[in-house]
């Protein structure tokens, strides 16, 4: 059953140096503050996994948390580049960043295979794309019925998956709604699961479009209101589009970035502990 704890202890317990860590959330419900706590606790050599690495991964990469990135689209949505990600890949700053690069369809199916305890998933994908030749987690498989050749992608099973959700109850059952992305698969594929939530309630009232992740597939729940900012939590906040634009300026320069991170992350109180 899920333990109700605080973010600092949850990260200390569940995220270790060298782990394969997925902070998932497709534009919506991105667990930003959990990423900040991982930075504050100076985790190193993480393999960061995520379909759409955005600001929080730019921050983690720029702060030297990651050794490798497994992803399918790494940009600042609606704005442009992730400058820290680019700097790491192009110039090895602050450290070289290995990449394993996929399409969205490939990444999504890698999580599906992981959640299904299968070693791989089959899709029609990567046809004619240069991606297949670049990745050891893309291969092919032949249909035993038709003889067709299809793409195969290796299962993803993170050591830890972290997601942000709207609510949990006191037992640690988690409820989320709105755009759900690949969170359920990322949770069920993981060995350990940390969920940050906007609030903890007595009872999870049924809601249209909501799913419930039972407490027994969640390792720890921490209350972190606003934990998705500048992403959002439907019913609690709206996307801070202005901050996504500002990030372009903050992150473009190494010193500006470092100063901002020092002030806003390293020296920030963990509001939740």
């Amino acid at each position: 059953m899920a333990e109700i704890t605080n973010l600092r202890e949850a990260v200390a317990d569940l995220v270790h140096d060298g782990d394969v860590v997925a902070l998932e959330g497709f534009t919506h419900l991105i667990p930003t503050l959990a990423g900040h706590e991982i930075i504050r606790q100076r985790r190193r050599d993480l393999t960061l996994v995520r379909m759409t690495p955005d600001l929080v991964y730019d921050q983690m990469i720029g702060m030297g948390t990651a050794r490798k990135l497994v992803f399918s689209w790494g940009g600042n949505p609606g704005v442009g580049s992730l400058h820290r990600f680019r700097d790491a890949v192009e110039n090895g700053w602050p450290a070289p960043l290995e990449v394993d690069e996929h399409s969205h369809a490939g990444m999504a199916n890698r999580y599906v295979a992981g959640a299904s305890h299968l070693p791989f998933a089959v899709l029609r994908g990567y046809e004619g794309s240069g991606l297949a030749a670049k990745s050891e987690t893309i291969s092919t498989v032949t249909c035993p019925f038709t003889g067709e050749e299809l793409a195969a992608v290796a299962a993803l099973n993170p050591d830890v998956t972290v997601i942000h959700a709207q609510r949990a109850d006191g037992d640690g059952n988690v409820q989320l709604w709105g755009i759900l992305g690949v969170q359920k698969e990322a949770v069920l594929a993981a060995k350990r699961v940390l969920v940050t939530v906007e609030e903890i309630v007595d009872r999870l009232d049924p809601r249209p479009g909501a799913i419930v992740l039972p407490a027994w597939v969640v390792t720890a729940v921490a209350r972190v209101p606003g934990g998705a900012h500048p992403s959002y939590a439907t019913g609690y906040s709206v996307r801070d589009n202005a901050f996504y634009s500002e990030w372009d300026t903050i992150s473009r320069d190494r010193d500006t970035f470092t100063a901002w991170m020092t002030k806003h992350v390293l020296e920030a109180e963990d509001a939740t502990s």
């Binding site: 969205h104 999504a108 046809e127 901050f243």
Partner: protein, 262 residues
């Protein structure tokens, strides 16, 4: 169409031409940015029944303002249905439910292949890192047909891609057929200068229309390979007043809402 008496920009012409290209389409798998702007304009003008599908899992989104990201709350709030990301790619895109895929790109070659991964800069400089593939490789493969919208320049329309992220017609005739791809591939590339379509035989992108006031030479200069021009070269109809007004209102609403929210 009654030509507008008000001025318009090349970017507006591009969006209007892109929206028109969606006439008759039932479902469109939409990339964020220019494709999303064009698809929403189509929905607000000639194709009100157009079903917009975003890779965040929103089926039938009817945003009143343009989303800034692929997963804005506006898309979720106005969708007929929200499904998971694995489902949107497996059941809806790969399943063959998307008539049109609408893409942008950083580089396009003469066969409509797309690069959104990285660009070689030469001089010993490291490759310029782009965001990557996202949903594009499978949209390019599986959508009934693909529309591409990009601004025209010889940095975009290049002789040779630094990397093939998403396939168009590959090396030309028969390539898609050999891969067994379901979709027809890129049937139009719409730019701020004109419209390119694949030659029915060679599959090489050919200039079939220029926008009003644009010369063929100007398009050729902005294209990194010797561009073929169709014998029946057309001139695009200028934006109508309705198209312009609708688009500008959409953008004004968008600006206002996004300012108010932040």
């Amino acid at each position: 169409m009654s030509t507008s008496t008000i001025d318009w920009t090349a970017d507006e012409m591009m969006t209007v031409a892109s929206a028109r290209a969606l006439a008759g389409a039932r479902t469109c798998f939409v990339g964020i940015g220019l494709p999303s702007r064009a698809a929403n304009l189509a929905r607000l003008t000639d194709n009100p029944g157009l079903v917009l599908i975003y890779e965040s899992g929103t089926l039938g989104a009817k945003p009143s303002v343009l989303p800034l990201s692929i997963g804005d709350g506006e898309l979720a709030d106005t969708a007929d249905s929200i499904v998971s990301v694995p489902e949107i790619f497996n059941y809806w895109l790969q399943g063959g439910r998307c008539d049109v895929g609408f893409l942008g790109a950083a580089q396009v070659d003469r066969f409509g292949n797309l690069n959104t991964t990285s660009i070689a800069r030469g001089d010993g400089r490291p490759d310029l890192r782009l965001p990557g593939a996202g949903g594009a490789p499978e949209i390019a493969a599986h959508a009934g047909k693909v529309l591409i919208v990009v601004r025209h320049s010889d940095r975009v329309f290049v002789e040779k891609l630094s990397f093939i992220t998403s396939v168009g017609f590959g090396t030309g005739t028969g390539f898609r057929e050999r891969l067994g791809l379901r979709g027809a591939g890129p049937t139009q590339v719409i730019t701020d200068l004109g419209i390119l379509e694949p030659d029915p035989e060679s599959r090489e992108l050919t200039l079939v229309a220029v926008h009003p006031g644009v010369t063929v030479d100007r398009v050729r200069e902005a294209t990194g390979w010797p561009l073929k021009v169709d014998g029946d070269l057309a001139t695009t109809d200028a934006p109508t007043e309705r198209e312009l007004t609708t688009m500008r209102e959409l953008q004004a609403r968008t600006k206002e809402v996004h300012r108010a929210r932040t």
